[in-house]
Symmetry: C2
Subunit: 487 residues, 2 copies
């Protein structure tokens, strides 16, 4: 779309911000030319990638959640009920104040998140302990009146694909167990996308408005800044008290439910693009690649053996079709132009077939991540393709974890100020910190870094050992805490 | 959800409006208790049904359309560009006027439909004839400030699942060919849902604001009123001129594109419910039934042969699982309560297995539409289930077409006023009419009926013969025209 013919230039990833914008445009992920700040258009290719990524998320959630869909509009009367929640969002909410030519009696908020839409219904849905746990999710568009610099998939005024789950439980411990299950679901999700992550408990001053505490996933962008890619909140009984959500327990007593909610936005798509892409364009994990294999016939218009090559290409496509998303590019363009096009779109495996391959009953595989070329007998093209895609996934996952671990600087117990300053420019730094907001502000001041939070785990670590040490600011007892420049 | 235990009452369908509300609630399609007029909540079961129905629509469109997603918010400056279009919508649009505490410089419309969001991008996407035809669709939420009586799935302030397709072509004829293809896609869609339809060309005064002409699908509700369930518009160059969408043709000349757009809302779900449901609840075509088969063990708690029955039930489920959406209801409720529950949810096939069945290596099939019972050998349960579901689909499609044709009164050439008055209370009447708006108003006055439009076809007729006769109002030359009371 757009009909542009691009020069086959290399796009250096070193200038990450430029690279990102170029890739979104050239690989046709999102079009930024929509005439409102912070609103973008999903191109067909980008939307296919989005759908494949969200399919994984849905399949992980469907095991124990029901999918629902709530209205976009929340009456002001409900929206302002939870005091901390409204304070957290009041600067960011779009308000509908007119319908046709009428002023509305009650302004309607465009949901920035759906707690205040969903919980009045939880009140009517939940009566007894038998209705618990209640676990639902929806994939919906949410809106934020962003005044900062906006960026496709990362900071938008309309998040088109916010997956939000909401659960209710009998007590604090059962809600906390759900928080842990959500962490495990999100781990599996990002493992399948081969996107590395840090899991922290956000500091109290940075938790979700209305939550008891917040757990967050962050990944590290190529420029060393972190991007928050998931959050999980234990809500305690805060919203239950506001929206009067009670159940009758086994003994007949009326009790408030304990709640959790957790969400992932289309930042998961941004994370896939930023983590794996290179100077030739997208590199995609095969599971989410809209096109997994492209077959390129190596022929030149006048060559007499062209027909035989095309026939072999078609039979290879036929053999692959039932197991893979495969395309045979029979267009008029030269092979080099085809390579460029499909590399840009991150097709994990290219199969080249030319006259010499045909005469030898072979074809040539080219892997998108390493550009490694190797010959494969036509008789085993399906098995070899399976293996190549599996290898590619493992290889990009290994590579992204290596890169990730090279960007984490564990300075706990050896926190020299100069060293922190130096490392925080390159990635994420782990130091001992207490939980006070003042020390957080001081870290911002001294190191130009935000506090992500206390260590819960990373993609490299399942469990972490509790370790304590002196807070780098005030010297009080502190825990292992991640600090970084953030998006 | 809601934890209500319903009395096993029959819900008579004669009072359609009450029946409809009861079914939506008891079968858990949509919850009407959301605290804003015209906004409703999809229950998990309703949303599964919605997803299965939209999967069919998507699969039909994916053949030649690309899925995209555009922003919800349209700047007023774009929205008001097409004069007729804005006139058609100005009373119905919700306006966002505030972001946080700021007044917005340019108010933003919540899309009531997306022409004015999409066509500014068509302008940048389309350059040459090689970019045409361009065919996209999206499934998105759209908003209408309805002041009339609202009703779930039928008349809402937020249509949560509007499928809208938009296409651009080189000339009038190619756009018209696309209109025909859209008609054919929508026919196949409703055929698969076994929902009967009338296809008409809407009168000029009732076409889509900005269209050259509009083709519409209507179905007949149980009370004889019609429900519009799809529209297809030839836009000519109206929007192309407004949004300056041109292409360079083969000769190098700049020309306006010719456009079409066509849409289906969640009324398709309402049509499935209303067409097939009965006094026991939903009846669903197997292809869209969230649960296609329920297995009910016929056991009573203390019976010693219970274990054998349950074992057989589980092996039957195992046999069916790879081909069908099947559930084995092992809950503590009595068989009768289970029957009621799954009948309400329209499960097409119930398999009962009791001790006597086990001893005979048999089971009992019960069809949801007819309640017909028959014995099936356990050895062929998969084949028999396939057949039963196929038969059920054919049978409800035949029955709904019979019912539909009994509600169409073809009075062309014999249009006595009393007879029209009588028939229009029962269903749809076909008469000769000219195309004037005055005659349309007179029909409304005399018969309390709206003009659907000139005959294009029905689910019973592929092609119609052009027939002319004298307009029932003014006597001028007229065409076969459908009139009806409408939703």
């Amino acid at each position: 779309m757009g009909g542009e013919r691009e020069a086959k230039t290399i796009i250096p990833k070193e200038n990450f911000s430029e690279w990102y914008n170029e890739i979104l445009r050239r690989a046709e992920i999102m079009d930024v030319r929509y005439p409102v700040k912070g609103l973008y258009v999903w191109f067909p290719f980008g939307f296919k990638l989005r759908n494949l990524i969200y399919s994984i998320l849905k399949s992980l959630l469907d095991v124990e959640h029901d999918e629902v869909l709530f209205p976009t509009l929340i009456p002001k009367t409900e929206f302002i009920k939870e005091e901390k929640h409204i304070k957290g969002f009041e600067d960011e909410v779009f308000w509908v104040t007119r319908g046709g030519v009428d002023e509305l009696d009650v302004p309607l908020a465009l949901r920035p998140t759906s707690e205040t839409a969903i919980y009045p219904m939880f009140k009517v849905w939940i009566r007894s302990h038998a209705d618990l746990p209640l676990r639902i999710y929806q994939i919906a568009n949410v809106f934020r009146y962003e005044t900062k610099h906006t960026r496709p998939l990362v900071r938008l005024r309309e998040v088109t694909s916010f997956k939000e789950a909401h659960t209710a439980h009998r007590n604090w411990a059962e809600a906390e167990a759900q928080v842990k299950r959500a962490v495990s679901i999100y781990r599996r999700f990002y493992d399948r996308l081969a996107v590395p992550y840090i899991i922290t408990r956000r500091p109290d001053w940075d938790k979700f408005p209305g939550a008891a505490y917040t757990i967050a996933f962050d990944t590290i962008m190529p420029d060393g800044r972190t991007l928050q890619i998931a959050t999980i909140h234990h809500l305690g009984t805060n919203f239950a008290r506001t929206f009067d959500i009670k159940y009758e327990d086994v003994g007949g007593e009326q009790k408030y439910v304990h709640q959790t909610c957790y969400g992932i936005s289309e930042r998961c798509v941004a994370a896939v693009i930023a983590t794996h892409g290179d100077s030739h364009g997208l590199v995609l994990p095969p599971e989410v690649a809209p096109m997994q294999i492209v077959i390129v016939p190596i022929i030149f218009a006048k060559e007499k053996r062209s027909r035989a090559v095309l026939e072999v290409c078609r039979s290879v496509r036929a053999a692959l079709k039932s197991s893979f998303r495969v395309i045979l590019d029979e267009s008029e363009e030269r092979p080099g132009a085809k390579f460029y096009k499909w590399e840009m779109r991150g097709v994990p495996l290219r199969i080249e077939i030319g006259p010499r391959d045909v005469s030898r009953d072979e074809c040539t595989f080219v892997r998108r991540d390493t550009f490694e070329r190797f010959t494969v007998p036509l008789s085993n093209v399906v098995g070899e393709a399976e293996k190549a895609l599996r290898d590619l996934h493992e290889s990009i996952w290994r590579r992204s974890k290596e890169h990730f671990s090279s960007k984490i600087f564990d300075l706990c117990g050896d926190e020299q100020e100069d060293r922190i300053k130096e490392c925080v420019k390159k990635g994420v730094v782990v130091v001992f910190m207490c939980r006070s907001e003042e020390c957080g502000a001081e870290v911002k001041e001294r190191f130009d870094a935000d506090v992500l939070g206390e260590e819960v785990g990373t993609c490299l670590l399942d469990d972490v050992e509790e370790q304590t040490g002196r807070c780098i600011i005030c010297g009080a007892e502190g825990r292992r805490t991640y600090i970084a420049r953030t998006y």
